[in-house]
Subunit: 582 residues, 2 copies
């Protein structure tokens, strides 16, 4: 109806063509006798021109009345521009307008529709439909579509079938909180929205579907932290008759294909490191391996020298910052303050400058000799000119703090380049985490994860030493996926529930259908779920997921554009057999 | 891990190859000295063989202990079968088993895993994971995946971007009932699950996304009728700067591509008929045009002849059944009973047999001459040997009854061949339906549908005569999609809400965000939503959607496999600030 071309299509080869365009008025430059309009749509911007010489007074007057974000339709002739704009693909041409129709007017938008907008977060969320007109948001949503198409076509080509699992399921108190949905037809009863399709995909494997995937919304009623959404999207996958290597191979190739199709990169085979090594070397189970700064344990070198702070602790460890010896006292003090923030929780930070002359200067010179400090530097692989940073405390806590410090220092040094992609697999996770004040355990991955076959006896004797065939896919310090080989044996699943503190009755009530399914020929199976929002953001070179979601919720779980959630009227509550108590 | 080939892969060319297979034991035929196992997976069935001559006693004994639906893994050698099975692709070969591992045992399933199962609906639903092992269900789910892939790739190729819209939105009392979700973080407030992403996709158009689609779950809390599901899937689409013809062209091509890729059919351009013509000719706004039997109005020919039943009514109409004159009195009586059923609600049925000798025999011979009946026959295009069936009453009701009768007779005569595909567009729907006992109207499509531009003045003067640029895509008597050009003007949208009986305040509260968006440069736009469950079923040659859904709910909205919905415990209710009153 309204256009022969989009606003991104016209080139020098189209000169003299009569065209119809439609779009939004991005800007108007009115020089009196000549007037230029930048007309914008999803595909680009085309410059329109009207002037006194070539246009009638009527149409010129109409054009002069047009404001930003008006929706117009024009017809005209493509002409070569006198002053070309090399920054846009249509910059060689403009369109001499012959007819102009205003399809809709526009009030002045509450913020500018430019790549760098003057709108704050709240305003942008309230008028998200205007925010989406901006290239940075629009491009992210189109990028998301591209990623989902690559994923779907890759998996379909590997015989995975996308099967839709239900959204109205049953609440299971275990794990995170469910969002629930009252059933009008079954008064007093509730559905729950899925936190993941985990049990359904396992049932599909029991049902012989062999290879399943789904790009699917999941829901978790958690207190929201920054960059968490109550609804989020997973690429959910499951395979039958496989072991861990089969699954890793399929999804390693998928990420390679994404990196290739999107960034033209073909990464080498992904490193695989154990959970234990990841914690020891990077202080994280989702290490960023785009840079070194490996952690080193210093217990042997730093304890028993009379420095009580270290002597009392379970763990002393550190890492070297390249060129860090050049840091001023003020810069170092800032890092000391940083590790003392409650989010990190260290008591202090010991530092050692490896001077260019081979000497060492440290905050603990009193307690340690130059030889001692030389040994620390050597353990941390520090060179002359580097800085060694050392923390101490409980082992896991200290490793985690060192890992956080390592990331923050790397961020400041510009080592976390979003255009570099360093994927890896973290494997050999423990099956169970001991719970404090309890004989029971927490499932490190989830209750359906299988112990490694060679550890199955330890389930009885020393559960906390049991490792799982569980694995995380990590990209640039982000966990973008996690999965495991599942339990397919009823007795093992029962033992697992018992270790997690379920009574027989609770296990039966909540997961009886799954354990029943294991009676009828359940095959070995396993899978993975990738966080799609995160995957897309990291592939796009960003850490924040918010702008990769068309209509996100804010940190109170609210959609401020449509004003949801909202109270219901009494009639609707009555139909649902509900009363609110707030 | 477990296999070198699937159970559907091996052919004569693989003879002598050593293979590993894994799958389910479909059947065991034990002849004592020789034993055959049909091993099944998603991809097919392969025959395994063991015998006393070529196998040891141990493995033969193990094989003999295996039951149906056991999961096993074997290795062996492909050999040519002596008696081939031409009915399966792998029927030329069998595998001589050398090693056999039982991966899991199986209890006897509650129904047979065969194409024709002995399981009733309830049992099949409770053990859906076993039902899915059956070819008829498995194939339908794989077919569904295929259709979704074709749709996604087609639309992506046409510059449509799949954008995910939120599931936790705001309840709008208008229309069908919403499922709601209590917000724990905002006590006393509720989200609603979307009945469709309608307003969001319109906001995406205001946001300049230009072409949007989504294969998306929608939710409607209705009292369930047969073959309705509380959650269902839509292919939801929207386009900017288009008129009706643009939209029809894109989605006509999409359905043509589906029919081509799936059935090898390239249908002619789809007929387009007006709503008024569809009602007059077929008694339905979703006509099945695989066969004729067009309705004819008989008022002029049948009224004023002294038959009071007809004279009192607004409408007399009928149609011809080819060869129907051969029907026995009993068969005709059965149709008379059929139209009197409460679901149809006719008072009676008049019939006219067009005898081979040119005479007419009718149930109303007393009132009408042979010449009268000849005129009816002529109006209905009945030939000698045909039967004319006639109903009378209110016009719309009678047309609808005739339409239902036409379908039922066609069904009985085998004219509704599921392998024939007859798509069409129904266009020119009325914008509004008058409500009984009210000055207000009901939106025939939905409140966002635009009147035809040339009818916009009638919105003030005679709303019920206003037609809309609304259209339905109909396939074999099923509405598989419906859409419209949308209102993009704030004043027209306000007028529309007022005609629908919204106060200004109600309109503002519920749809203020949309009307606000219309202030900032809303472009002309329109779209369509296709019922994916129905589309897949009709393309698959079936009328029922149930088996095209992996885990459907029953007619009480229950999932009997996982036993949902279910009561919540008091703690969970308390966290949600809720009490149940049932």
């Amino acid at each position: 109806m309204n256009r022969s071309h989009t606003c991104g299509a016209l080139r020098l080869s189209d000169v003299n063509t009569e065209v119809q365009l439609a779009g939004w008025v991005h800007s108007v430059r009115d020089k009196g006798f000549v007037l230029w309009i930048d007309l914008r749509d999803r595909y680009g911007v085309t410059q329109l021109v009207l002037d006194e010489e070539r246009n009638g007074a009527d149409i010129l007057a109409k054009a002069k009345s047009i404001g930003r974000e008006f929706v117009i339709q024009i017809s005209g002739q493509v002409i070569e521009r006198v002053s070309k704009n090399p920054n846009i693909p249509s910059g060689d041409i403009e369109v001499l307008v012959k007819e102009l129709t205003v399809l809709n007017t526009a009030d002045t938008p509450p913020f500018t529709i430019e790549d760098e907008s003057d709108g704050g977060d709240d305003l942008r969320m309230k008028y998200r439909y205007l925010d989406i007109r901006r290239n940075p948001i629009k491009d992210k949503l189109l990028f998301r579509h591209k990623v989902s198409q690559i994923v779907r076509n890759y998996l379909s080509g590997k015989d995975f079938a996308e099967v839709e699992t239900p959204y109205l399921i049953k609440s299971t108190p275990e794990g995170a909180r469910d969002f629930v949905v009252p059933s009008r037809m079954n008064p007093g009863q509730f559905y729950a929205l899925p936190q993941s399709p985990q049990t359904f995909k396992q049932l599909l494997m029991v049902g012989g579907m062999d290879r399943y995937f789904q790009v699917v919304k999941c829901f978790r009623d958690e207190d929201l932290r920054a960059d968490r959404q109550p609804e989020f999207t997973q690429i959910d996958c499951e395979m039958t008759f496989v072991d861990q290597d089969d699954i890793l191979a399929v999804f390693e190739e998928m990420l390679q294909q994404l990196l290739h199709d999107i960034h033209g990169i073909t990464p080498a085979p992904f490193p695989r490191i154990s959970y234990a090594d990841a914690m020891a070397t990077y202080g994280s189970d989702k290490p960023d391996i785009r840079f070194g700064m490996h952690l080193a344990g210093l217990n042997d070198l730093a304890q028993g020298k009379g420095f009580q702070v270290f002597d009392q602790q379970e763990w002393v460890g550190g890492f070297a910052v390249e060129g860090g010896a050049a840091m001023s006292r003020k810069e170092i003090d800032a890092w000391i303050d940083w590790v003392k923030r409650p989010q990190i929780g260290a008591k202090g930070l010991v530092w050692v400058k490896c001077n260019e002359d081979g000497s060492y200067k440290s905050s603990v010179d009193k307690f340690f000799s130059q030889e001692d400090l030389a040994e620390w530097a050597s353990a941390c692989k520090a060179q002359a000119g580097d800085l060694v940073l050392v923390l101490s405390g409980g082992k896991t806590k200290t490793l985690t703090q060192l890992g956080q410090l390592r990331l923050a220092v790397a961020e400041e040094k510009g080592l976390r380049n979003p255009q570099v992609f360093a994927p890896l697999w973290v494997v050999d996770f423990p099956l169970l985490e001991p719970l404090e004040d309890s004989d029971h355990f927490h499932a490190m991955h989830h209750p359906f994860t299988a112990p490694k076959p060679e550890h199955i006896q330890q389930l009885e004797t020393s559960p906390k030493t049991v490792l799982a065939n569980a694995y995380d896919l990590v990209l640039n310090g982000n966990e973008i996926g996690g999965g495991s080989i599942r339990i397919h044996d009823r007795a093992v699943q029962e033992r697992m529930f018992s270790l997690l503190g379920f009574t027989k009755q609770e296990a039966e009530e909540q997961f009886g259908f799954l354990m029943d399914a294991f009676r009828y020929g359940a095959p070995p199976h396993g899978g993975i779920a990738l966080g799609f929002d995160r995957l897309v953001a990291v592939l796009g070179g960003h850490e924040s997921i918010r702008d990769y979601i068309a209509f996100p919720k804010n940190n109170s779980g609210k959609d401020v554009m449509i004003n949801a959630p909202a109270p219901l009227d009494d009639e609707q509550l009555g139909e649902l057999s509900l009363k609110t108590t707030s």
